[in-house]
Every structure is written in structure tokens, then in C-alpha cells.
Amino acid sequence: MIIDVKGLYHSYTNDDNYAVKDVNFSVKKGEIFGFLGPSGAGKSTTQKILTGLLPLQKGKASIDGNNVKKSPNRLFNTIGVSFERANVYKKLTGIENLEFYSKMFNVKTLNPLKLLRMVGLENAANKRAEGYSKGMLQRLVFVRSMINDPKIWFLDEPTSGLDPTTASKIKEIIKDKQRKGTTIFLTTHNMHIAEELCDNIALINEGEINLIDSPRNLKLKYGEKLIKAEYKINGELRKERFSMINKEEIDKLNEIIKKGKVETLHSQEATLEEIFIKVTGRGLK
């Protein structure tokens, strides 16, 4: 396993108010592993612990066989990290930011201009980052994270806030990297991204992972067992979806059927968001 996490806890306040609680997962080489969860779920916290930006307080985590607690600096030659925050030098141009960052590595790095071109920033290459829009900054942070052609790539919300065209460009780049063997850990609160890109998804809420599986399995397990019913109650037509894994909901549907109030019944494939709601009891927003 290229990333291995066991019993990870983290408290920003150093008490038992945990931002992540008993997190366990492992990522296989070459896989895209997604953390799907709403804001404040603990996605960025987990990524920061793994990349050494936050101390490992409790639990075990290793990357490529190195304990993250004392991972050597040179390990970062093979790791790429993209941040949810656009943390670039505002006084430097796009290309200067990349040129600077490329010098920090001991390994061969990719051509800065080529990287900018990949995300449509070639025309802003010589413009100071202080003049970039939010989306441009995000693309800059994204390409910066791949400058050392990483073997393991951490992406925190790589597409949030981007227009659909740019987002799909980013998705293509991510898929392409995976084809070339890169292992990718990404966080998102967007179910479409998770579904489209990830080999495995951890559903995380309030610091805890509720479930880890592939999008396909999640749908097979939960999607087929979802039934959409239209029924009348007090003369009013209602639409509702019932999970066939939740006993209460099964009972409720049975009740409605027994009373003969049902108008239509369809089995339906659940979206990941619906599955998320079923599993964690809350939505992704």
C-alpha cells in the first residue's frame, strides 16, 4: 500500500474535540482515492497530516513506506501537493512562481510554460499572480503541484470553483496522470468528480469515515435498493425515495403499499449524494 493510515485522530485544540476521528484507509499504487464529504468533514485536515503540514498526534500514517511523522525531506521529490487555498507568491508572475518552485526539487522538473499551457494560463504567464482571478490562481496551484511529476499526488478540491470547461480539463489531466502510474489522493465535496475520477471513495463526515468502496460498488449496494414511490396522502400527491437497506424506510414503504395509496413505484439508481445522505444522515452541501 502506497498510503496507509491507521487510527488517525487530530484535534486542533489538543483536547478530545477531534477534527478527524479514528480514520483508517489505504491507497493502492496507481489508484485515485477520493475523500468525499461536506465542508468541515476533515478532508483537508487529513491531507495536511499526510503531507506533514500538521503534526501526527495519534495513529499511524505512512507514505511509500515512510512514517509521516519523520518523513525525510527528499521524500517530497516524489510527492505533489495542491492546496485548496491559492498559496502562491502574489508579487511573482505565474511563470516566476513555477520557476521558483521547480528549483526547490532535486529531481527533473516539468517545463513551467508547458504546464501553464495545459491549464490555459499561457497568456497570463507574465502577469503577477496578484492580478489573477480565483480560478486562475487555483489552476496555478494545481500545475505547481505537478511540477516534479510526482509519484504520489495530493489534490485538495482540485476543481471547486472552476467553470465546467476548465474543470473537465483538470479532470483529463488527472486521469492522464493516473494512466502514467501516479497514485492520487483527492478530496472533494462534489459527487460527480468523485464518481468520475475515483477508484475508491471514502465517505467522510464530521471527521469520521463511514464507508469506503468503489463508486460502482456503492451504487450496486445502495443504488439498486432505492425505490422511488409516488403516493397520495390526504389527497395530496407525494414523491419519496426509500432505501431498501434501511429497515425503517422499508417499513414505511410497506405501510404505504399496504394502505394502497401508491400511485407509481420505480427502482432508481441513487446518486452518490443520496448514498451519502443515507449513510451519514446528511448532505454534501
Partner: protein, 346 residues
């Protein structure tokens, strides 16, 4: 590693220039040059007025001659001398008396004069009494600031070492902390922390950039005032070391705070606490409390003075350089450790 440090240096130089740091350094240096050349007078030696009182017992001619042209400074009683002295904090009093035909001279001081001044006064009176041929005497004005330099340096130029000392300290202190907080604010330090670079190079680069600014302002100040004179190489070495120490201390203080607005007051306060005694000691030679000796800027000031106005005291230069190499290294190590602790905590 050399590639990385050069990358860091280019980045720090570019960001600081674009953040107007260079401009500020040049403007402040030029302001100081203007101040020294045009505002501060060439002669600012403080004259110590001396008030005299001659008792009725005096018959000795020599004694009378001492006060021959003192006019309004001759007062009627000892009490009056003391009263006048209270109004004038730099003045001294001399009471001329005679006991058994022998002159008895009493010198009244304010209490904070240093021994050197009192000795000078004593010597001058003795000279008058015993060595001056009758009729030819004229008492020299006793200056509170007797110059120890052999050749006379104009007062405004004498202040150059002080400026060269204080400018990098005060500016470097604040500027390096500002540079660090810009990185914290922008989060760029986090991006650096997930690269193979280590903290020591990252800090070193900033310290070097501040040192370059310190050297630049030193060159502007010295060349703009006293010209290309003295031992420039020694001067630059001294300023570099002083700047390294100042930057590190600034960074260490900054490491205790989360943002520049929190850190600014402690940093400015520290720089005032460190530099005010040194400035006082420069302007008021009689001010020399023991703790001054342990403030690094104090010996550095003398070494900088020696480098700009050499008197041949190479030992002083070399000792100070040795001392500051140790200071720089130790402070650098503490800085790196302080930031390791500070960043881990986040």
C-alpha cells in the same frame, strides 16, 4: 542545494523589491545622508558653563587671575552658584577659597558627569595655578565632550557610525519579520514545506537578502557623508554580521506571533530597548551603565567607528568580528529551531 538557495534568493529579492522594500531602504538611507550633511551641525560640542565664586579670604593673585574675564559667571555666594547650576544641568561650579595662604578649590558637580570631565577641569585649574606665567593665562573652555580622536572629526560625520549601526538594526528587524509574515499570510510557506527544501535554507535566504539591503544602505550612508574612506571591507563585514544578528533576533521575536500587527509592537519595542542605550551612550558619554556592555550593538558601534575612522586598532575590529560570527551562528540556529517549533505547532 546551491540551485535551491539561488532560487530562494531570487524569489526573496524579487518579492521584496516589488513590495517596495528596496525603495524604502534607499529613501531612508538618502534621508539619513541629507540629515547628516545638511541638518546636523558640524560642531555640536556641548559647552559646560562654569560658575565661579571667590571667597573674601582670597588674596592669591593666581586665583584672582583665573576669574579675570569670567564676568557674569562670577557669583556672589556659593549658594548662588548652586542655584545657577540647578537651572543649567550641564554646568559645573568652582569655589575658590584660600586657607593659610594656600589655594583651596572646590569643584561642584551635578553628580552624573563622568570622571574624565572632572579630571579635565581639575587639570585645567591646576595648570592655571601653577604653570601659566602671570598675565598670560586664559582658561580654556572645558567641553563636556572631550574628543578622544587625534584628528578632529566634524560632529555630523561622527554620527555616521551610529547611523550605520542603527539603520540595519531597526529596518532589518521590522523588514525581515514583514517578509516572513507575508509568506505566512499567503500560505507560501506551506507550499515550501511540502517541497524537499528545508527551513534552514529558507531562513538563510531571507537573512542574506536583508544583509544585502544593510550593505546597500551602509554604502549609501558612508559614501554620501564621509566619502570612500576608512576601511570599507572591514565596515562591510561588520555590518553584514550585525545585520545577520539583527535579522535573526527579529525572526525569533516574530516566531512568537501569528501576524505582523501582533508582532510589530514587540519588535519595535525590542529595537528601542536595544538601541536607545547605545544612542544615549553615543551622545552622552557620561552615560555608561554596566548592562550597556552586554548589548551587542555597543561593541559593534565602536568597531564600526574604528572601520570608518581608523585609528589603527585592528584588534578591536578582529575581536568584534570574531564575537559577531559567534553571535550570528548561535542566533541563526535558534531562529531555525524557533521556526521548526512554530510551524509544527500550526
Amino acid at each position: 542545494m546551491p540551485n535551491r538557495l539561488s532560487g530562494l534568493l531570487i524569489k526573496d529579492i524579487k518579492t521584496s523589491i516589488r513590495g517596495y522594500f528596496l525603495l524604502i531602504v534607499i529613501i531612508v538611507a538618502l534621508l539619513l545622508v541629507g540629515l547628516i550633511n545638511f541638518v546636523i551641525p558640524e560642531d555640536a560640542s556641548v559647552e559646560a558653563p562654569i560658575f565661579y565664586h571667590l571667597t573674601e579670604n582670597v588674596s592669591n593673585k593666581q586665583l584672582k587671575l583665573i576669574i579675570k574675564d569670567k564676568g557674569k559667571d562670577i557669583l556672589k555666594s556659593k549658594e548662588e552658584v548652586i542655584k545657577k547650576m540647578k537651572d543649567n544641568p550641564t554646568s559645573l561650579g568652582v569655589i575658590l577659597d584660600e586657607v593659610n595662604n594656600k589655594p583651596k578649590i572646590e569643584i561642584i558637580t551635578q553628580g552624573y558627569e563622568n570622571q574624565k570631565i572632572i579630571n579635565t577641569l581639575k587639570l585645567a585649574i591646576k595648570e592655571e595655578l601653577y604653570f601659566n606665567p602671570e598675565g598670560m593665562n586664559n582658561i580654556k573652555i572645558i567641553k563636556l565632550k572631550p574628543s578622544s580622536n587625534k584628528e578632529k572629526i566634524p560632529f555630523n560625520d561622527k554620527i555616521v557610525p551610529l547611523m550605520v549601526l542603527l539603520e540595519p538594526v531597526l529596518m532589518g528587524f521590522v523588514m525581515i519579520a514583514a517578509l516572513m509574515f507575508i509568506e505566512k499570510d499567503q500560505g507560501t510557506i506551506e507550499a515550501y514545506r511540502v517541497s524537499p527544501g528545508n527551513l534552514s535554507e529558507y531562513i538563510l535566504s531571507k537573512v542574506i537578502v536583508m544583509m544585502l539591503y544593510g550593505l546597500l544602505s551602509t554604502l549609501i550612508i558612508t559614501i554620501g557623508t564621509v566619502g570612500y574612506s576608512g576601511n570599507i571591507v572591514m565596515l562591510l563585514i561588520l555590518v553584514s554580521l550585525g545585520s545577520i544578528l539583527a535579522s535573526n533576533v527579529g525572526l525569533i521575536i516574530a516566531s512568537f506571533f501569528d501576524n505582523i500587527s501582533q508582532a510589530l509592537i514587540p519588535i519595535v519595542l525590542t529595537s528601542i530597548v536595544i538601541t536607545t542605550p547605545v544612542m544615549l551612550a553615543f551622545f552622552v558619554p557620561s552615560f555608561s551603565p554596566i548592562y550597556l556592555e552586554i548589548l551587542p550593538p555597543y561593541p559593534l558601534m565602536f568597531a564600526i567607528k574604528e572601520a570608518i575612522f581608523p585609528t589603527g586598532n585592528t584588534g578591536l575590529l578582529l575581536n568584534t568580528i570574531g564575537l559577531f560570527i559567534v553571535f550570528s551562528l548561535v542566533s541563526y540556529i535558534i531562529t531555525v529551531l524557533a521556526y521548526k517549533r512554530n510551524l509544527i505547532k500550526e
